[in-house]
């Protein structure tokens, strides 16, 4: 293999591919990025057997060839290369020579016969603006269950309903749902493993323009420009969450996001090891009060200005769950709806029905 290409392009490609390489796997070659030079481009390929990525970089190919190079080493090399214009890569006895004007690097290669292929997904296909998908996933994925015990909820559920793509995640203590308007959405229903979400966000997070999504019951792929990313999907059925979203409410409050955020942070200083914060709403007395107490640290009470209606209610919740949803609420005010002390708290941006967040209160 012998090629020349631009430093920036290959650098970005290597950083993205490196994130996907398999770590701590029994098959050592999975730590590597596979470099394939053929035709008019260099392909970088990496996989951890749950995610796979292939990035195509335009390059001047003098001699075609393939090499497997440990991803970590390669990424470190490229993050410290001084030159910014062009770099030449050449294979010499199974090792990789990286040459720029000022650097000359030799990296030991690995035998690549055992490097796996990356599945090409065939199934339903459609195109959508990348930022819409990214926005949908970002709005909910932090609510997924971290543990693998229940794979169905350790994932982000994406499905279509009329003109919406709907993104949902839950860990059974809270739940986030985001609806994104899409013209002519294909009938879609996939569960993407939570562990693969950060990589998907990283790879396509900055992408402007469209991404092509293709899925079947085992695999989903995202492709755009010169990047192809494929993830396994969770083979299961997401719980029937729609029936637990309360349709009515007994108490409603509208508060300013920043004020609530401040009050929550203050409460957190004095919350116990379960992050417990108490909320008291008394519409008649116009009270919206957050409080917490900790025997070792102290206690606090904060009153917030709020528009209140309905019955008085008192409950406690895990403040972390509440804090998480602030990243998905773009408006200045948010609405809180309650149905008593044992039913989910419903949080939503004020007059924006596209995002819904449920928090289960704590036993007192």
């Amino acid at each position: 293999m012998k090629i020349d290409c631009g430093v920036e392009k290959i650098k970005n490609g290597i950083f993205q591919a490196e994130r996907v390489t398999g770590k701590n796997l029994t098959l050592p070659v999975l730590n590597s990025i596979l470099l394939i030079a053929s035709g008019k481009s260099l392909k970088l390929r990496a996989t951890n057997l749950s995610l796979g990525i292939e990035i195509e970089i335009p390059a001047k190919i003098e001699k075609e060839g393939t090499l497997a190079i440990p991803g970590g080493v390669l990424a470190d090399v490229f993050s410290n290369i001084l030159d910014t214009e062009s770099v030449s890569l050449e294979s010499v006895d199974g090792n990789l020579m990286v040459k720029t004007k000022r650097n000359k690097v030799k990296v030991k290669g690995q035998p690549w016969d055992d490097f796996p292929t990356i599945p090409t997904v065939s199934g339903t296909e459609f195109k959508i603006e990348a930022q819409k998908v990214i926005d949908g996933i970002k709005s909910v994925y932090y609510s997924s269950a971290v543990s693998d015990v229940k794979p169905e909820i350790s994932s982000v559920y994406i499905y279509s309903n009329e003109d919406n793509l709907i993104f949902v995640a839950t860990d059974s203590f809270r739940l986030a749902e985001k609806k994104i308007k899409v013209r002519g959405a294909e009938a879609m229903s996939v569960l993407i493993p939570f562990k693969n979400i950060p990589e998907i966000l990283r790879v396509f997070g900055e992408l402007q323009g469209e991404v092509k999504i293709c899925f079947n019951k085992n695999q989903v792929s995202f492709s755009a420009e010169n990047t192809y990313l494929t993830s396994r999907v969770v083979n299961g059925i997401f719980p029937d969450y729609r029936q637990i979203i309360p349709k009515e409410s007994k108490t409603e409050a509208v508060v300013l996001k920043q004020e609530l955020l401040g009050a929550l942070k203050l409460s957190n200083i004095f919350s116990d090891k379960f992050n417990q914060v108490n909320l008291r709403i008394a519409p008649k007395e116009k009270i919206f009060e957050l409080s917490s107490a900790n025997n070792d640290v102290g206690e606090n009470k904060t009153h917030l200005d709020a528009a209140l209606s309905g019955e008085a209610v008192e409950l406690s919740f895990n403040f972390k769950y509440f804090l998480d949803c602030f990243q998905s609420i773009p408006t200045d005010s948010l609405s809180i709806k309650l149905l008593g002390a044992a039913r989910p708290i419903v949080v939503a941006p004020l007059s924006d029905p596209s995002f819904t967040y449920l928090i289960m209160p704590m036993n007192r």
């Binding site: 749950s50 499905y159 085992n218 083979n235 059925i237 417990q276 989910p344 036993n363």
Partner: protein
């Protein structure tokens, strides 16, 4: 053949031929799922593994399996569901303190609306539904060709939905590529109305016509919906032309669905129309036993027999009654005695059918388009005599009213006259299909 044993043998062979790293990466969590006509289906955890086994190790796997199992003709790879997921989430302090959202596992597959719990394993076949069952099996053998459309009718709670969903589930398993879709007529109708509102009539048509098997439940409500009838008619034609199976269920025979267009009636009749009747005692007993096994509960034989004999008709009520007893059993943790069972069920028993004689007369006279009073009159006009005899027959046969009482109520007839009428209709029913149909239709009016 023991597939587990076979795969274990093969794996030990393969292990010798590949490196340890490769073996543990690629062959972990694999299994032989089944063998069919010499094809071995190897289950793999995901597509990465499937691709790699296919590209890299196919020869080795084929050779090894062939060495251990001589009838092998080919090897296929199928992706299986991960084993995890059936366990409970371990209780941590956090789940103890924090309430959980009452999330329920969803049994209904959102892609095709089928409930995966409806299968033939749990479907009891008896004389009351064996024809429907046999037809369903024939459809699974070759969907779209034999009985198209397949129309099942019967009263509520007799297992129509179970049967038609089980057909859907079986076809999905047998022909993985086929697109199956189950819906109720109501859903079909709302979809249609929505598509009209949004000016998307064409996408509605496309949506339904892309399926290979369409199952529409509770079609009896179509009567008044003229536009929906028309749309269904076209959808139906498309399915039929392309030899795609379509299945309907209803609580009435198509001929008795009011205001059903003739063209639809004749289309329904072109396929197979079968009814599911009420289960007889033996089937009820069998159903109860299967339910008990599912619930993992053991009840006294005499209690089970009592439930089977006391609750007649509807299977749903049968299950409900059984649930009451099982609940009691679990609560008290001791066997339920017969007398306890009786007292538990006393509110569930339906009173014996008590129909006022006047109502029967009214229904029959309405059916034959006669004045109600004519039945009581002493007239020998042919059409009235026939109607009167049918009334007597039904009162005796279906409502077990005594001969003298029937005679008395129908204008002071002698009980021997009633016996004569009863026997006459009974005899005629055997030879006169027209009469039989009439009587059946009148019976439906009573339900």
């Amino acid at each position: 053949m023991d597939t587990k044993e076979l795969w274990k043998n093969c794996l030990s062979g393969i292990e010798a031929d590949v490196s340890k790293a490769n073996f543990s990466t690629w062959f972990k969590n694999t299994s032989i799922l089944k063998e069919e006509m010499g094809v071995i289906y190897v289950g793999v955890p995901n597509e990465f593994v499937r691709d790699w086994l296919k590209n890299k190790y196919h020869k080795l796997i084929t050779k090894t399996i062939a060495g251990a199992y001589e009838n092998m003709r080919a090897v296929e790879y199928t992706i299986t569901k991960a084993e995890a997921g059936r366990q409970e989430i371990p209780r941590t302090e956090n789940n103890y303190i924090n309430r959980e959202l009452p999330l329920k596992d969803l049994y209904i597959n959102p892609d095709d609306n089928l409930n995966s719990r409806y299968r033939f394993d749990s479907f009891i076949v008896g004389s009351f539904n064996e024809l429907a069952y046999a037809a369903a099996q024939a459809i699974i053998e070759s969907p779209g060709t034999k009985y198209n459309p397949f129309f099942v009718y019967g009263a509520t709670g007799l297992g129509k939905t179970h049967l038609i969903q089980a057909v859907g589930n079986s076809i999905k398993e047998k022909f993985p590529g086929k697109k199956v879709h189950y819906l109720t007529l109501e859903k079909f109708a709302t979809d249609f109305v929505n598509s009209l509102q949004n000016n998307k009539a064409n996408s509605f048509k496309e949506k339904y016509r892309k399926y290979d098997l369409l199952i529409i439940d509770d079609i009896q409500f179509i009567g008044k919906m003229e536009k929906i009838q028309e749309e269904l008619f076209h959808t139906f034609n498309t399915f039929h032309e392309n030899s795609k199976q379509i299945i309907f269920s209803s609580d009435k025979h198509p001929n008795h669905i009011p205001e059903l267009a003739d063209r639809l009636k004749s289309r329904f009749a072109a396929g197979m129309i079968v009814d599911i009747t009420e289960p007889e005692y033996e089937s009820r007993l069998a159903i109860l036993k299967v339910k008990l096994r599912e619930m993992n509960v053991d009840l006294d034989q005499e209690v089970v027999e009592y439930v089977a004999s006391a609750i007649q008709g509807n299977i749903r009520e049968l299950e409900g009654s059984l649930n009451i007893i099982v609940c009691q059993y679990r609560l008290k943790n001791k066997p339920v005695s017969l007398s306890e069972a009786k007292s538990l069920l006393k509110n569930n028993l339906r009173p014996k059918k008590n129909v006022a004689i006047k109502d029967v007369v009214k229904t029959v006279s309405d059916y034959y388009n006669l004045e109600e009073t004519t039945i009581y009159e002493k007239t020998r006009r042919k059409e009235i005599v026939k109607a009167r005899q049918v009334v007597m027959y039904l009162l005796r046969e279906d409502f077990s009213v005594s001969y003298p009482l029937i005679g008395q109520k129908l204008g002071g007839k002698d009980h021997t006259t009633v016996i004569h009428s009863y026997l006459k209709i009974k005899g005629d029913l055997k030879n006169d299909p027209q009469l039989l149909q009439e009587v059946e239709q009148i019976r439906i009016l009573f339900k």
